[in-house]
């Protein structure tokens, strides 16, 4: 892991056009180049460059892949993913051939579905009759028992249209149909010279026979229907290999065309350019060299030759910190060359959560829930995100672990004080007003003090990171005279000193140290100097500056506002950390309230246990969520605002694992 964003280099290469396809494959396999369009040549040279239309219709390719995705889902298979891609699999193909293949498969499936539909409709017809029998609506049913002249199969065929059932038992024929169809049924029976049996015994046997026949018909229709459902899946499974090959080939061509779109062509050569992490530059050079059989010209541009705002930013961090990389990404991309914020966010986020939600048992429960949800997603990659999205599972596991650690530090387990001595102090004892004598934390004010000190540390770390970033960017004026620079930092430090002294006197008097006023005045004056100094610097560098008259007016206005913001901003930023203590206290108080409620029905009763379980569930769900959100909020608003310059462009190479559209 690097403390700063990764060093980048820009490659510009020229290869023979005949080897451009091989170069594309090599670059795709390597997946390290964030392409940029060729610019900066003279108008004459640019005029000689041309671009080629993609080999394939991009929309057509994407649509085709989506069709395959859909077929996979219909077949109960996992959707193909980029892990299957290998440039060696890439072959030439015609979209129309693929389309024909898919259409044919689709037609086969539709035909199976039509057969299934017939059985389903038959089943529904029989089930309607069955439903009336079950519900006692015999008025809708008509049963005939008797004899016919002619073939029973012919009678069945004749009555098939009405889904009437025809059964036979020892020469006795029985039919069951719906009374609404009686006119047509009777006509058909007449055609077979139907003789209705008058004997009640035969009527009963015939009636039972046809009811049994009805049950059997329903079972048969259900089985045939289910069988056809399986056949649909089987048909897709049969074609799985071909479909996978097609999917991979489509995706590879899609990515290749994406790379090709950045290429510029002369009569015989191909030019392209892009950013690469410095440590991969040799590998990229070697890949181009090999793919072009050495027939290439490669030129490297170093970062000092390019405007910093055009350099893409890559932040490397170990996999273990990936959830925090996501948190940073959601906020923005830092400027190139600045401090990598990921490890700092990891520490800040986890410690904030630990202070707000410290409980061994509840932490373990949170961890286990997230762990099981993560396993569920791994087992079923196509499963849609539920209440806990897959991107959050790892983060929730971490906060579960730190919550449990917090429980050890502050002595809490499922809302009860731990039987062993906490590592630092018992939150329960302090909140309930029974602190252990001699320990450093005696009341809730001490807890509030801890949270404020913690906040001050976080804010100062933010300022330090900012100063490092500004030094690296050689923005010394801003570093010294900005609100987030040394002047602002000095004023903040003085303010903190004054605040602590004021509290130490029982909120009676402010400190009167002789250095305080000069520091505050120098700081305030320093803030006033920033804009004029930047103005002079800009002017010296030949950059455009506003008119002096209007500039002076705006400087004074800005300064007044800046001063106000410095005082109120730092104050509110620091006080914002009270929430850390607030949540910690609320956690203990809530659980204490549930303990009292649980004791109300009597000691160790089922109701008492249920109340405690409910209390724990509620606290885990609501307070866990709130603490997570508050920790994020503190990071984004109190920490990031001190140093995070979200003006960077994210490094986004075209690779086999590029984000699917």
């Amino acid at each position: 892991m690097s403390l700063f964003t990764e060093d980048m280099r820009m490659i510009t290469a020229v290869v023979l056009e005949e080897s451009s396809d091989e170069v594309i494959k090599a670059l795709l396999q390597l997946g390290a180049l964030d392409f940029v369009r060729i610019t900066g040549l003279s108008a004459d040279q640019m005029a000689k460059l041309s671009h080629k239309n993609p080999n394939m219709n991009k929309t057509g390719i994407i649509d085709m892949r989506h069709r395959i995705d859909t077929l996979f889902r219909q077949g109960g298979l996992s959707k193909p993913n980029s892990d299957l891609l290998d440039v060696k699999m890439m072959t030439r193909f015609e979209l129309k051939d693929y389309r024909a293949f898919l259409d044919k498969l689709s037609r086969t499936l539709s035909s199976l579905k039509d057969q299934q539909k017939s059985f389903s409709q038959l089943e529904q017809s029989y089930k309607e009759i069955h439903h009336y029998l079950d519900e006692g609506h015999s008025e809708y049913i008509e049963i005939h028992v008797g004899k016919i002249q002619g073939s029973i199969d012919n009678l069945r065929k004749r009555l098939n249209e009405y889904s009437a059932l025809v059964a036979e038992n020892n020469g006795i024929v029985s039919t069951m149909s719906l009374r609404r169809d009686s006119e047509n049924i009777n006509k058909a029976l007449d055609a077979f010279s139907w003789t209705e049996s008058e004997e009640s015994e035969i009527q009963k046997i015939g009636s039972d026979t046809v009811k049994e026949f009805l049950d059997a018909q329903i079972v048969e229709a259900e089985e045939r229907k289910a069988e056809l459902e399986k056949q649909v899946s089987a048909k897709i499974n049969e074609q799985q290999k071909s479909l996978l090959e097609m999917w991979c080939n489509l995706r590879l061509h899609e990515l290749s065309d994406q790379i090709r779109s950045y290429f510029s062509y002369t009569k015989n050569t191909t030019l392209f350019s892009g950013w690469v992490p410095a440590k991969l530059s040799e590998a990229v050079e070697a890949a181009i060299y090999e793919a072009s059989n050495g027939m290439c010209v490669i030129d490297w541009t170093e970062i000092n030759e390019a405007p910093p705002e055009t350099i893409p930013v890559s932040m490397k961090s170990p996999r273990v910190l990936s959830p925090f990389a996501e948190l940073v990404k959601n906020y923005g991309t830092p400027a190139y060359g600045s401090v990598n914020p990921i490890p700092f966010v990891a520490v800040a986020y986890l410690t904030m959560f630990l202070l707000m939600f410290a409980d061994i048992g509840q932490g373990i429960v949170i961890f286990l829930i997230a762990f099981l949800v993560e396993r569920g997603y791994k087992k079923n990659p196509d499963k849609k995100d539920g209440i806990i999205p897959r991107s959050a599972t790892r983060l929730i596991e971490y906060i579960g672990i730190v919550a449990a650690l917090g429980g050890i530090v502050f002595g809490s387990n499922f809302g009860y004080p731990t039987p062993f001595r906490p590592l630092w102090f018992s939150f329960h004892n302090v909140v309930e007003g029974t602190p252990v004598p001699g320990t450093p934390v005696q009341n809730v004010y001490d807890i509030l003090k801890i949270s404020v000190i913690y906040g001050i540390v976080v804010i100062f770390v933010g300022l330090l990171i900012n100063w490092v970033n500004l030094v690296r960017r050689k923005e010394f004026i801003t570093m010294i005279f900005d609100r987030q620079g040394l002047c602002g930092g000095a004023m903040y430090a003085t303010g903190i000193y004054m605040g602590f002294q004021y509290t130490a006197t029982g909120f009676k008097s402010l400190p009167s140290d002789p250095w305080i006023t000069p520091v505050l005045l120098i700081g305030a004056f320093g803030l006033l100097l920033k804009e004029p100094l930047l103005y002079i610097q800009k002017k010296r560098n030949g950059r455009e500056v506003p008119k002096l008259g209007s500039f002076i007016g705006s400087v004074i206005m800005d300064w007044v506002l800046e001063l106000l913001e410095t005082f109120t901003g730092y104050l509110s930023n620091t006080l914002s950390f009270f929430r850390v203590a607030g949540y910690g206290i609320a956690h203990v108080s809530l659980m204490a309230a549930f303990e009292v409620l649980a004791e109300m029905p009597g000691e160790h009763t089922v109701w008492g246990i249920l109340i405690l379980v409910f209390g724990n569930v509620l606290v885990i769900a609501l307070e866990g969520l709130s603490s997570g959100i508050q920790a994020l909020r503190l990071n984004y608003y109190e920490f990031f605002t001190k140093f995070f310059n979200g003006t960077g462009i994210a490094y986004s190479p075209v690779s086999l694992h590029s984000k699917d559209q």
């Binding site: 199976l112 039509d114 389903s120 169809d181 229907k225 056809l228």
Partner: protein
């Protein structure tokens, strides 16, 4: 807290988000691009219609998919009903009654097919939505009725009963179901009008405005479709119109209806409310062949009015966020989505290609 704010702050935020999802959904595009029914149904899975897709897996029957979608929509409306305060609930109830009415009409059509035309309806009854929606309707009683009295019995003690009583078996046998269905539709609009009248404040203004505009559009559509295209008798058509809104009361409509049915001037009628549509109809009418442009013109008018209805729903979205307007807009978009899915699935089933689909939807 402001009452309307309290009533709607939660549910309307939720509905707005859902409307956003419907409008941004790529489902329509995916359905159009699907290579066949199986792929089209597969696309439903990704867009929150898993149950409908499973219904297809189990039956292979598109109408079962439609039934499943309808059930999902009913469930959705019922959950909205449970989340808004007492008064506007009647609006949701009337919306559910519309679904119930369509279900009753489907049952009546099945009965008509069986009792009047003596055709087998077998499995088709399984496509009806069973269970109580708003009123106690004995659907199977309608389908299996051996007399018209049994149908009236099946809808006893509901608003359907007095309307059904106005008809007899012989009338239906002679004239078909059109008149009965039109009467039921008018009955539903009356329910809607009554529900709007019971609303208060801005809810009432918003709902009444949307209602009147919709009725105007429906009446115009009837005047064009039946009066101009089918050249229906003026008196009969007058009876079919919904007695609300500005179109119904306009003297030009009366003149239009009293005119010789072959000489009715649709352009002039449309010009009163939508001059731009009138111009479009006029331009289309230049083609020599008379029948084709008339179909095209009617289609164009229908399409235009559907777009107007959509515009009305969008207007409801951009108004005060704490009124019933958002819920009404949601019902519109939900129904439009349901119709779009059913239409496209049907098109896939019958092999109509995507270019034609686009024209149709």
């Amino acid at each position: 807290m402001n009452n309307s704010l309290g009533n709607y702050e939660y549910i309307n935020a939720k509905l707005k988000a859902r409307i956003g999802n419907i409008r941004e959904s790529k489902l329509e595009e995916e359905l159009m691009k699907a290579g066949g029914v199986v792929e089209a149904v597969g696309a439903l899975r990704e867009h929150g219609f898993e149950e409908a897709a499973v219904a297809y897996d189990k039956t292979g029957d598109m109408q079962m998919v439609e039934l499943s979608l309808l059930k999902q929509m009913v469930q959705d409306y019922k959950s909205i009903q449970s989340q808004i305060s007492s008064m506007p609930k009647s609006i949701v109830e009337v919306t559910l009654t519309k679904i119930e009415l369509d279900n009753v009409k489907s049952a009546l059509r099945l009965w008509y097919s069986s009792a009047v035309h003596h055709r087998a309806i077998t499995y088709r009854t399984s496509y009806l939505l069973n269970g109580k929606l708003v009123n106690n309707i004995h659907l199977m009683g309608i389908v299996n009725a051996l007399s018209f009295d049994q149908i009236i019995e099946a809808v006893a003690n509901t608003w359907y009963e007095p309307i059904m009583r106005m008809y007899s078996f012989s009338q239906i046998e002679d004239n078909g179901l059109f008149d009965l269905e039109s009467s039921l539709d008018r009955g539903w609009y009356q329910l809607m009008n009554q529900a709007n009248a019971r609303l208060k404040g801005e809810d009432k203004t918003v709902a009444t405005q949307m209602f009147k505009t919709e009725v105007d559009l429906k009446n115009l559509l009837m005047l064009i479709r039946y009066g101009w295209f089918h050249q229906m008798d003026g008196e009969k058509l007058q009876g079919l119109l919904y007695p609300y809104g500005s179109v119904y009361r306009n003297s030009k409509v009366k003149d239009y209806l009293n005119e010789d049915k072959k000489k009715r001037n649709a352009e002039a009628l449309l010009h009163t409310w939508y001059p731009e549509l009138s111009q479009m109809v006029k331009e289309k009418g230049i083609v020599n062949d008379k029948l084709v442009p008339m179909i095209e013109q009617t289609r164009m008018v229908e399409h235009f009015l559907v777009e107007k209805r959509r515009g009305l729903a969008l207007k409801g979205l951009s108004g005060n966020p704490f009124t019933i307007g958002i819920a009404l807009a949601y019902f519109y978009f939900k129904e439009a989505q349901y119709n779009m899915i059913c239409g496209l699935l049907g098109a896939k089933y019958y092999g109509i290609d995507s270019a034609e689909n686009k024209g149709m939807f």
